[in-house]
């Protein structure tokens, strides 16, 4: 059922990238994979990038772990379907190696404690690495569509912010003063740089200062490469060819997260394009109920009334969310019996998305 023209099916037809957002456990990964199937059925070459698939789903997709290249999933569709899992550990290190001027510089940086902290912050929570991997897949030219399954909501904010944080960090005036000591045209900034380093030494010891100076010095040559990369990723995330789908289950705890996601998207000049309500029970809320209640049906009707109450509550949360996010169209997906954890289940879910 689609309220307003837009649906997953249309998005996967029209866009080059579709990003799925939402809190954990709402069925995002299944919807991402099923959306990719929908695209393959429409004749497109599609790749789904999953962040953290449940084990059985990973098995169903043929992802046993550790694959660097996307894995092809065979199926009865005119297009093609590949699946890739994000490997956070190595991606950032790979970037450092590719931008370093020589292996020695790479190793110095990789061993540096400030780098490890920075990589931990930018890469350890999967945020920036998902965006990086996306860029790799899109640049390969092998796919018409990349579907991105993001980490759970709070971390998805980091996914959207990641590249901007990196460029913001690189643009930091204080950092620039530290990177180019003595060459700064503004003496005040050099003084500031020295004061900062002194404070850092005072609170954390002189080894940290040494590591900090070493990091900034070594990183100097690589900065341009990283900046360009981050800027490309931001371009992708901000493009009209990228669609954003927020998957919700209709719980009140999702509302705050959804608002935060929306404002992050706003900062990229984008918005939520489609809201998918994934736990719809499919009850007919307009169906008249008998009054008075026939004796034998007391339990059955009480049950129905309770479930209707839950359904109404969920739908009202979703509707209010759609309005708050800017009159976003809603697509309700009927809850399937049981979790989806094999290809047949994904195919059924893909049917429900049409």
């Amino acid at each position: 059922m689609v309220n307003g023209e837009l649906s997953i099916e249309r998005l996967v037809h029209e866009r080059s990238i579709v990003v799925l957002l939402g809190v954990g456990g709402v069925g995002k990964t299944s919807i991402a994979a099923a959306s990719a199937i929908t695209a393959a059925r429409a004749g497109r070459r599609c790749c789904v990038l999953t962040i953290d698939p449940a084990r059985r789903l990973a098995d169903a997709l043929g992802l046993t772990g550790g694959e660097v290249e996307p894995v092809e999933i065979a199926g009865d569709w005119p297009g093609s379907l590949h699946a890739a899992v994000l490997d956070t550990q190595s991606t950032f290190d790979r970037l450092v190696r590719s931008y370093a001027r020589d292996p020695d510089q790479a190793e110095t940086i990789l061993a540096n404690s400030v780098y490890r902290g920075l990589a931990g912050e930018l890469g350890g929570t999967q945020d920036y690495m998902a965006a990086e991997r996306l860029l790799e897949l899109v640049s390969s030219g092998r796919y018409d569509l990349v579907v991105v399954d993001t980490p759970p909501a709070h971390e998805a904010i980091d996914f959207l912010r990641g590249p901007g944080r990196l460029t913001g960090f690189l643009d930091n005036r204080i950092l620039r003063a530290l990177l180019l000591p003595g060459r700064s045209p503004l003496r005040a900034l050099s003084v500031a740089g020295r004061v900062l380093l002194r404070t850092i030494g005072r609170v954390a010891g002189s080894e940290v200062v040494a590591d900090t100076v070493e990091f900034f010095r070594e990183f100097e040559g690589m900065e341009a490469g990283f900046r360009e990369r981050a800027s490309e990723v931001e371009g992708l995330l901000g493009s009209d060819h990228t669609g954003y789908v927020l998957v919700v289950a209709g719980r009140s705890s999702e509302t705050g997260e959804a608002q935060r996601l929306a404002s992050e998207l706003g900062a990229l000049g984008r918005r939520v394009d489609l809201l998918v309500a994934n736990r719809d029970l499919g009850l007919d809320l307009d169906l008249d109920l008998p009054d008075p209640v026939p004796r034998p049906l007391v339990d059955l009707l009480a049950n129905l009334v309770e479930l209707r109450g839950l359904e109404e509550g969920e739908r009202s949360i979703v509707s209010r969310l759609a309005v708050a996010l800017g009159a976003v169209p809603i697509q309700r997906v009927r809850a399937l019996e049981g979790d989806v954890h094999d290809l047949a289940g994904l195919a059924r879910l893909a049917d429900a998305l049409g």
């Binding site: 809190v23 954990g24 456990g25 709402v26 449940a54 404690s113 400030v114 902290g117 920075l118 931990g120 929570t125 999967q126 759970p152 909501a153 709070h154 971390e155 913001g168 960090f169 005036r173 204080i174 950092l175 530290l178 005040a188 900034l189 500031a192 004061v195 900062l196 002194r198 404070t199 850092i200 005072r202 609170v203 954390a204 010891g205 590591d211 719980r251 705890s253 705050g256 997260e257 009850l283 007919d284 169906l287 109920l289 008998p290 026939p294 034998p296 049906l297 007391v298 339990d299 059955l300 009707l301 009480a302 049950n303 129905l304 309770e306 479930l307 839950l310 509550g313 969920e314 979790d339």
Partner: protein, 313 residues
């Protein structure tokens, strides 16, 4: 385990769980349970300053000064929030950056320090938590942790900082934070839903906490359970419809609703059993509240359920 026992043996409970499982609601519920037993609870929020007060019917977001959210007899719930930028800024001021920093782009300076000393923000925030645990008159401090990924960053930050900062006041801070989180001073309450992915994530979180920290996992709160109902087995449904036939659309809807209820009950039973098999931790289940947006009445009802459930631990 009753609340007297909990308040007697620990000063801080950290409520940990993935996004969307009702972590904040659980923290609030525990606080109300403490208040209902005549004691004072202090709720701490980190990133999210608005959700907690909203649960108590207050429109005022939290800030660094305590806000009274609930009172019952001699018991009460107060709350405040701690932001990492404020903690870092205050700390650097105290350590000599203040005067010069006023000439600088303030945010830029904080970013550079946070990058040079990874984990400093988190350790300073936990340092403030430790201060409250030591000084605040509350009987129990309850921390509404951020969603698990970030919560783990917080909990690991002290160990990371101890590796980097070989000397200096930060090292002392990090050591004190480690003491705070270790067994005896604080406990962790895990929160999940009885569904496949949340249970997987809860199990994984528990393993990681056990591996990486010397902490106590007290138990698990399983939220939003849809209770079983009598008279809804397949046979009972057909029997009822035979005795009181009705329009086809209604019959089909009644059958469907019964099937949904049974399926949900089976799912929840299965997932709770799996949770029990993987983690040797006591569980308490809380029923799903019918209201779409939760408020103080819901918290009171949940708190009663929680108190009864905890008594079985």
């Amino acid at each position: 385990m009753d609340l007297d026992e909990l308040c007697g043996r620990t000063r801080l409970v950290l409520v940990v769980g993935k996004g969307g499982v009702g972590r904040t609601t659980t923290a609030a519920t525990l606080a109300v349970a403490v208040a209902s037993s005549g004691r004072r609870a202090l709720l701490l929020a980190l990133d999210d300053r608005a959700t907690l007060p909203a649960l108590f019917g207050s429109a005022r977001p939290l800030d660094h000064s305590e806000q009274l959210l609930y009172a019952e007899g001699s018991g009460e719930v107060r709350a405040l929030s701690i932001t990492s930028d404020a903690a870092l800024s205050e700390y650097l001021d105290r350590h000599g950056l203040g005067r010069v920093a006023r000439h600088l782009e303030r945010v830029g300076a904080l970013e550079v320090v946070a990058t040079a000393i990874p984990g400093i923000r988190e350790v300073l925030v936990l340092g403030k938590v430790r201060q409250l645990v030591d000084d605040d008159p509350a009987d129990l401090v309850i921390l509404d942790a951020p969603a698990t990924g970030h919560a783990l960053d917080y909990l690991r930050s002290a160990a990371g900082l101890l590796r980097i900062a070989r000397s200096g006041p930060l090292r002392d801070q990090a050591q004190r934070v480690t003491t705070l989180l270790s067994a005896g001073r604080s406990e962790i309450l895990l929160v999940t839903l009885a569904e496949e992915t949340p249970v997987n994530e809860c199990v994984e979180t528990a393993y990681r906490l056990e591996d990486e920290l010397d902490c106590t996992l007290t138990g698990i709160v399983v939220n939003a359970l849809v209770p079983e109902r009598a008279g809804l087995s397949a046979d009972e449904v057909e029997d009822a419809l035979r005795r009181a036939p009705c329009a086809a659309a209604l019959e089909s809807e009644l059958r469907r609703a019964a099937t949904l209820r049974r399926a949900r009950a089976e799912l929840e039973a299965r997932e709770r059993a799996r949770l029990r098999a993987e983690l040797a931790l006591p569980q308490v289940g809380l029923e799903r509240r019918p209201a779409a947006e939760l408020g103080p009445d819901d918290l009171r009802a949940l708190a009663r359920e929680l108190t009864v459930g905890l008594a079985t631990w």
